[in-house]
Amino acid sequence: MIQFNEKTISRVNEIIARYPDGKQKSALIPVLHLAQVEFDGWLDTPVMDYVAALLKITPIEVYEVASFYSMFNLKPVGKHVFEVCQTGPCMLRGCDDIIDYIKKKLNIKVGETTADGMFTLKTVECLGACGYAPMMQLGKHYREHLTKESVDQIIEECRNK
């Protein structure tokens, strides 16, 4: 059965308390973030249904939100997700070479996950780190000023985790 752990449940209640009575739907995006962290990095239908029940809204209200926002994964992803920015300012600083390098290094295409389930490569649109380009998001943090060498290090670091 899908259920948040106790700590997450209390966090959910804390979030709902930020809004006026009856506006608990406002907690949807924060709660989906929590769900994605707790349930393997993606939102399976039963997980979304659980969130709907928790917030007393209909499942479709959760599906339409989950499918709108690019940070929510509706398919399984690898343990480490490389989200490399490809918008103009990063392009000017050579993100294409970095993306090509990661593809070759991990032997996957954009959107794919390595066979061992360790890495997923995604390209994303502007993450607001244009002055520190090229860059990627890796979990909670940004990795900036990417070079082939630093990509090697990041991959090594992930493998050792």
Binding site: R18, K23, I29, L92, R93, E125, Y132
Partner: protein, 449 residues
């Protein structure tokens, strides 16, 4: 050296924490504001001439004065920290290094507007920045600056941080409110404006991070003093996030009197173009504003030096000028391909269109595909005119400004660099391995429209 009002303390060690921030004079504007009448605070902001720093440049004091105040209905302040305009990373810098400045400004603004519960909507990807803000809010609570009856004033104030989840459109204020209510980020039809019907149907003011931070020096020094900085209707200081082909990318606070040339080439700011390359073009206000070639960037069509402020950057309209926008300053050197760069922006807008209005939903996809076609050497001459036609049909025909934001970069690229597009069409193989180089700046090709 530009006067700094926001980032002057950003590098003091430990400034992220309350004790250091307070020791450095932080939270003084709240002490002053709590002794004032809310209407007088709004008046000070009006006098300051502060204009919204998110991109639109609307006068903040005026926006505040539009807030409806019906009896028995809560009012809300919502801070727009959804910074997603390509080239823009100034709010992140401010929140990351000096988070209490935003919290302080929000408490003053909340008091002025009568908002007891205020929200910061921050883009979901700035995950660690949201943690920094949460920590600052916790410290402010512990020290009696947030919560019930703050500093014995009788005013209750709470601030909450809410993360988005990856959607550029949520930087548009009504889409932001929809998202904060737990829905898809589809912009609302205006009117009613948020000032009348905003968050949960209540009167709401939505302001950018930098705008709210600027309220702190305005209250500390007075609106009139703030208005003395800068030039014309570009008062105060502006954060500029500079990126692209420059030696020193980063966030700079400027007083809007310096020239574009100084900003790019002086060591105090961008430090010039790397590897001795020449300046080709620039998008000075975030990806949505028109790209301009070097000659029109540095000098207006009238032959005056262009300055880093609202009026000067827009001098000449879209024919020969551009916009201040969000202050996302993107520099392109002579090796950059305008077609490819425009293509990445078109792809961005196609990805970010919420899909509500057909001209934007369909048009952004068309523009992306045609630009990709030209970029990969498969373009035809008529595609350039088709692109022009499509952007014209998007502009002004959508509920929110995303349509315009998607149309303008394409229009400006064709307006000023049509020869480069034509070169791609005429050289389908060469364009795959070579760049066109510098455009013919002296004679930007005008397109009838």
């Amino acid at each position: 050296m530009s006067k700094k009002l926001l980032l002057n303390k950003a590098h003091v060690e430990g400034i992220r924490h309350f004790d250091v921030y307070r020791r450095e004079g932080g939270y003084a504007s709240i002490e002053k504001a709590l002794k004032m009448q809310p209407a007088d605070i709004v008046e000070e902001v009006k006098k300051s001439g502060l204009r919204g720093r998110g991109g639109a440049g609307f006068p903040t004091g005026m926006k505040w004065s539009f807030l409806a105040k019906p009896e028995g209905v809560p009012r809300y302040l919502v801070v727009n920290a959804d910074e997603s305009e390509p080239g823009t990373f100034k709010d992140r810098y401010l929140m990351e290094f000096i988070p209490h400045l935003l919290i302080e400004g929000m408490i003053v603004a909340s008091f002025a507007l009568g908002s007891n519960n205020s929200y910061i909507y921050i883009r979901g990807e700035y995950d660690w920045v949201a943690d920094i803000l949460e920590e600052a809010i916790k410290e402010a609570h512990q020290n009696g600056w947030l919560g019930k009856n703050i500093q014995g004033s009788g005013f209750d104030c709470n601030i909450f941080v809410q993360r988005g989840a990856g959607a550029y459109i949520c930087g548009e204020e009504t889409a932001l409110l929809e998202s904060l209510e737990g829905k898809r980020g589809n912009p609302r039809i205006k009117p009613p404006f948020p000032a009348v019907k905003g968050l949960w149907g209540c009167p709401t003011v939505v302001n950018n991070v930098e705008t709210i931070a600027a309220v702190v020096p305005i209250i500390n020094e007075g609106g009139d003093e703030y208005a003395k900085i800068g030039i014309g209707r570009s008062t105060g200081t502006k954060l500029i996030s500079a990126c692209g082909n420059i030696n020193k990318p980063g966030v700079y606070e400027i007083d809007m009197t310096i020239s574009v040339e100084e900003f790019i080439f002086s060591d105090e700011y961008c430090g010039g173009i790397p590897n001795g390359k020449r300046l080709k073009a620039c998008i000075p206000g975030g990806s949505s504003v028109p790209i301009v070639p070097a000659n029109l960037l540095l000098t207006t069509a009238k032959g005056e030096k262009r300055l880093m402020n609202y009026e000067s950057l827009s001098d000449g309209g879209f024919a020969t000028g551009t916009m201040m926008g969000s202050g996302g300053f993107i520099v392109l050197d002579e090796d950059q391909c305008i077609v490819k760069h425009t293509y990445t922006l078109a792809r961005f807008y196609r990805h970010e269109s919420c899909g509500q209005c057909s001209p934007c939903r369909e048009g952004t996809g068309w523009m992306e595909k045609i630009l990709q076609k030209i970029e990969t050497g498969k373009g035809e001459m008529k595609d350039i005119d088709l692109l022009w036609d499509i952007q014209r049909r998007i502009e002004g025909n959508t509920i929110c400004p995303l349509g315009d934001a998607a149309a303008w970069p394409v229009a400006a690229a064709i307006r000023h660099f049509r020869d480069e597009f034509e070169w791609h069409v005429k050289n389908p193989e060469k364009c795959l391995t070579q760049n066109y180089g510098l455009a013919n700046y002296a004679d930007p090709i005008q397109v009838a429209g």
